[in-house]
């Protein structure tokens, strides 16, 4: 068990290193990097001192003349949390992230909780009531939910509930305190949009995984013991289905929530990580773009680690010798 955890940690570090290397190579080979001279020229023409322009460019894309130098600087910078200076915000990238994450968290967290609870509950119900009318309705909802383009759904909700009915504000405002009722009110639509697709997708997975166990022999054993339907469903269908569901939760749902959050922040103008990243891309603020891409990557890597550790607790059959 300890050896397994050690191995898993080593793999995490290795994977992180490979991911960062790929990120660097992609950046270093890109036309944005190649156009360095052009960039400096432009800045000089725009009235900037040549040395200053060069400095600015290096600040954005990493120091060094050879690719190896740039690579080493890049990695050392990341490791020491020196992620560069954002040109749009004029402050260290780390600070920008530190100031904005709470705006993302405040609606992604409730959306995650809602979608996990509802998605698993509906999926479980659907699986134990296969081929009933409720099951078909739930499946139809799931297909609709995964097919609805997040951004369009958000706009349609704004059109109906914001523009026509006027129940909810069209744009997010930072004037209200994070824990105020007004803030909760203006976050209703973002949470609805984000959780709809997440519920749909979780419900599908939960249904499929639970179905594997609905007709399992041990479920029959459990019924033959005289357990109630509720006990059978929770203990003998849902609990074993949890094991594969954990994988999905981290792998797919995390990605879904991040990607969904990105467009939602752009649409509702919520100043979270997504909007910061969006503006950084528009402004060609390289260090900030890199940081806002790497934050979800790190979260995903850590999520994967936690997921694998959960696996060892949830599934007694796991073979620690493997991997």
């Amino acid at each position: 068990m300890k050896a397994y955890i050690a191995k898993r940690l080593a793999w995490t570090f290795f994977a992180t290193w490979v991911t960062l290397t790929i990120t660097f190579i992609l950046m270093d080979l890109s036309p944005i990097s190649a156009s360095g001279a052009e960039f400096v020229d432009q800045q000089v023409q725009a009235g900037m001192d040549a040395d200053e322009a060069r400095e600015l460019y290096e600040e954005q894309l990493g120091y060094g003349d050879t690719m190896w130098d740039r690579y080493v600087n890049f990695m050392v910078g990341l490791a020491t949390l020196d992620w560069g200076l954002s040109t749009t915000y004029n402050q260290p990238v780390v600070d920008v992230i530190a100031n904005s994450w709470i705006y993302s968290f405040q609606y992604v967290f409730p959306a995650t909780v809602i979608s996990v609870v509802l998605g698993f509950a509906i999926g479980l119900y659907s699986a134990t009531h296969q081929y009933t009318r409720e099951d078909y309705a739930a499946t139809l909802f799931a297909f609709t939910g995964i097919s609805l383009p997040n951004f369009w759904f958000a706009i349609m909700l704004i059109l109906i509930f914001g523009v026509y009915l006027g129940w909810f504000p069209i744009f997010y405002s930072t004037e209200h305190g994070l824990l105020s009722l007004e803030n909760a009110h203006q976050l209703v639509l973002p949470v609805v949009v984000l959780s709809t697709s997440a519920i749909a997708s979780e419900m599908r997975y939960a249904r499929a995984e639970s179905l594997e166990y609905v007709h399992a022999e041990f479920v029959k054993t459990a019924r033959a013991k005289g357990l109630s339907e509720g006990q059978v469903t929770v203990r003998h269908i849902f609990r074993p289905a949890m094991v594969p569901l954990i994988t999905i939760l981290v792998g797919d749902i995390l990605g879904l929530l991040f990607a969904g959050g990105y467009v939602i922040e752009v649409i509702f103008q919520i100043p979270g990580l997504g909007l910061v990243s969006y503006e950084a891309i528009i402004q060609q603020d390289m260090p900030l773009v890199l940081a806002t891409v790497l934050v979800p990557v790190f979260i995903a890597i850590i999520g994967n680690l936690i997921q694998d550790l959960c696996y060892t607790i949830l599934d007694p059959r796991i073979d620690f010798g493997d991997r």
Partner: protein, 343 residues
């Protein structure tokens, strides 16, 4: 036998509604189980043995399954008319179940101790610690060595035979009066099978339970049965004491089954296959494969069970004339001609 039977199944019909039509898995089955006796249900795969046994405590999936007709009297009360809670209070506490495949019968994510405790706690008002003690005792009773430590092991740490012992321990958790064992040894090695059969015999003597034992292996029947129910395509072909069935089989199907036993002089396979259960043939379900079939066998319904001397009954028209035996094979064609001529 004048005392009231512990379990009495009357004209039970369990059907499954599928895309391809209604599967009449059990189509009018009746038999009794008395206290302390072992009744074996025998038949080929697909003859409705398992569905019969699972219909007793309504373990069949509903829907698509449905008990369309008939009654199941347990201790004088009809289970089919009980509420769900009523049926559930019987399961485990009065009637224990053991299933065919021990590999799948235990939930892989719980310890065996947990799974036995679960059965105890759902029917008895005992503390968790007491339930654990009981679980250890049960494991010892079914012959698991080092029970106090094994109780905290997970199912995958047990062998197939040991798993089946655990499943039996779960079934025995609340001292049921009746144990329903659905091919409990089919998935096991021959040596393990013998051990498990020994265990069943031992348990029955010790606890004085009624056992319904489902199998397709007549060798097993000969070893443990008091009485036998022969099923074919959802119908009962013949019932009787184990002596009657083995020494004096009445139904052509039973005769054919016994002839399939290895070691018998003329090892004869039964020609043909089970008839369709969605659209069963008219008349006797077995007529297609029966050498004694005459035209009358091919029309109408399955003949009713006809009482023979002793504890014995058969569903075959050849016994309705009262001579108590099948006709000679060469006479079969002549009988058709005679009846045809009379008509």
């Amino acid at each position: 036998m004048t005392e009231q039977p512990l379990l009495s199944i009357r004209d039970l019909k369990t059907h499954f509604h599928t895309d391809d039509g209604v599967v009449k898995a059990v189509d009018g089955v009746s038999f009794d189980v008395h206290r302390g006796e072992t009744v074996c249900i025998v038949g080929e795969s697909g003859s409705g043995k398992s569905v019969t046994s699972e219909s007793i405590t309504q373990l069949i999936p509903m829907p698509p399954g449905e008990i369309v007709e008939g009654s199941v009297y347990y201790d004088g009360n009809d289970i089919t008319t009980m509420t769900e809670d009523g049926v559930r209070s019987l399961r485990g506490s009065q009637i224990g179940h053991v299933f065919q495949n021990p590999q799948g019968a235990l939930n892989p994510v719980y310890t065996v101790g947990y799974q036995i405790r679960e059965a105890i706690l759902s029917h008895r008002d005992v503390s968790k610690a007491e339930a654990r003690e009981l679980a250890v005792e049960l494991l010892e009773e079914v012959g698991i060595p080092e029970a106090p430590t094994r109780v905290d092991d997970y199912p995958h740490e047990f062998s197939g035979g040991m798993k089946q012992r655990v499943v039996i321990a779960i079934a025995l958790a609340c001292d049921p009066e009746m144990l329903i064992a659905d091919e409990p040894t089919t998935a096991l090695d021959v040596t393990i099978e013998a051990q498990i059969l020994d265990l069943f015999r031992h348990l029955q003597q010790e606890l004085d339970m009624s056992i319904i034992f489902i199998t397709h292996d007549l060798g097993v029947v000969a070893e443990i049965a008091d009485r036998v129910v022969v099923m074919y395509a959802g119908k009962v072909m013949e019932t009787g004491s184990v002596e009657k069935i083995f020494e004096n089989p009445a139904h052509p199907y039973t005769k054919a089954l016994l002839e399939c036993l290895p070691g018998q002089a003329g090892l004869e396979p039964i020609p043909g296959a089970l008839p369709s259960v969605t659209d069963p043939p008219n008349g006797c379900r077995f007529h297609d494969r029966c050498p004694y079939a005459i035209d009358m066998c091919r029309t109408g319904e399955q003949p009713p069970l006809h009482d023979l001397p002793g504890d014995h009954a058969v569903s075959c028209i050849h016994y309705e004339d009262g001579d108590g035996d099948l006709p000679e094979l060469e006479d079969v064609d002549r009988m058709d001609a005679a009846i045809g001529g009379a008509r």
